[in-house]
């Protein structure tokens, strides 16, 4: 064996570790992987130890412990012994990090993906959100807060269905 230096610079190994960590899904929104969400920030290998870096969507997101545990299991199963999971707060998570593939999956799952760029959103401005069921923009907000911290509750006036909206931050 050539030791840590070789391992640290082996891109194939790092890619395999990334793929293992990225396979973990959000426990609240199982169609999205933590990579789709932008919660998985980095996977690095140092001295033979894999470290996955994650960031919470919201300060109080109760899914973080579960996600950290599942990453450890996924990495162990992929053959990486004693992986580490580190949580960072900065830079603060934003919906802009959600991948296009992630947004499509959300819509197909019945959740309206975050619409606009999060930055400089007027505090009292109105958002236009398309219904994930019928596509109509004749929608109205029922509540700013939904079933999880990251979602708001909306309804569609065209097809009369209620839906979750993944809100922009």
């Amino acid at each position: 064996m050539n030791g840590a230096a070789t391992i640290a610079t082996d891109p194939a190994l790092r890619e395999r570790a990334w793929a293992a960590a990225a396979s973990v899904c959000d426990p609240e929104i199982p169609v999205l992987s933590i990579a789709d969400l932008g919660v998985l920030r980095d996977v690095r290998i140092e001295n033979g130890v894999v470290e996955a870096v994650i960031t919470p969507t919201y300060s109080g997101c109760p899914a973080m412990n579960m996600i950290a545990l599942e990453i450890e299991v996924a990495l162990e199963n992929a053959g990486f012994a004693r992986p580490k999971v580190t949580t960072v707060l900065s830079p603060a998570w934003t919906t802009d990090w959600m991948t296009e593939a992630g947004k499509t999956k959300l819509r197909e799952y019945g959740i309206a993906p975050p619409a606009a760029k999060a930055g400089r959103r007027a505090l009292f401005g109105e958002e236009q959100v398309a219904c994930p069921h019928c596509g109509s923009t004749e929608t109205a907000r029922i509540s700013e807060f939904g079933s999880t911290a990251c979602k708001a509750l909306w309804r569609c006036k065209a097809c009369a269905e209620p839906f979750d909206y993944f809100k922009c931050i």
Binding site: S59, G60, W93, F124, F145
Partner: protein, 251 residues
């Protein structure tokens, strides 16, 4: 206790977030409609999440091995450093919403400024919190308008809440010995710098809500140095019960 100004300052921020978060959690299962039950739960979760990060940071600053749980569960009321506004009883729905509005209108610009703190951890916590407080502000402002500009009864309750809570608003803008050096050093935020933004938000929302901004009279103070109203002890008796009854319990 390594009682540095930075430890005290961080504890003040943490305690304020925890106590308000706990207050909001008291609504869960009791709100007038399920959407607002979820909203209070969500806002409480944001605040408790902010508190957890702040307590962890405070524990590291102190360097005595106290973690977030030790700081939240094993200090008594006189050691708590939250502002008095957030420990005031929930009262009716309007009272809770007006209290949330008064705080969020302050916390949003405050955290926006704290995101530029020289203390990198405080800056990171604030940069997350500011996004959350934007939603708290929007939600509580909309409700303040809806209640104030609603029925005679909702207007009366909102105005009563505003009048009763007003004496607790000045404490948000106080600075003392603990903070002055930190403000100088670019670590803490000078709250007087966010006063104009707070005033503007209040004037805008209160006029939409047809509510009358109370005059400043005798203003309450003392929470940040551990002098609390009788309400905090009752909050802690519930919040800390399990750790007091079963020290060290975990799951």
């Amino acid at each position: 206790m390594t009682d540095t100004p930075l430890f005290q300052y961080t504890l003040r921020l943490a305690d304020t977030a925890l106590v308000l978060g706990h207050r909001l959690s008291e609504w869960v299962g009791h709100s007038p409609v399920i959407e607002e039950d979820l909203a209070f739960g969500n806002m409480g979760l944001d605040l408790i999440g902010q508190a957890r990060s702040l307590y962890s940071h405070a524990g590291e600053i102190e360097g005595k091995g106290r973690d977030e749980d030790a700081l939240a569960y094993l200090r008594d009321a006189p050691d708590y450093r939250n502002i008095l506004l957030v420990e005031q009883p929930n009262g009716n729905f309007a009272a809770t919403m007006v209290r949330q509005f008064l705080y969020a209108a302050f916390a949003h610009p405050y955290f926006e400024a704290l995101a530029h703190s020289k203390d990198k951890t405080l800056a990171a916590i604030a940069a997350k919190a500011v996004k959350e407080m934007a939603y708290h502000l929007r939600h509580s402002a909309e409700w303040t308008i809806r209640l104030g500009d609603g029925t005679d009864e909702s207007h009366r309750r909102a105005q009563d809440a505003l009048d009763e809570l007003w004496p607790y608003t000045a404490e948000m803008f106080e600075t003392d010995q603990v903070e002055r050096a930190l403000i100088e050093a670019g670590v803490a935020v000078d709250p007087s710098a966010v006063r104009a933004t707070w005033d503007k938000t209040l004037d805008h929302v209160l006029s939409e809500a047809t509510l009358v901004r109370p005059r400043d009279g005798y203003m309450q103070s003392g929470g940040r140095i551990g002098r609390h109203s009788e309400h905090l002890g009752h909050i802690l008796s519930e919040l800390q019960f399990v750790q007091r009854a079963y020290p060290g319990a975990s799951w």
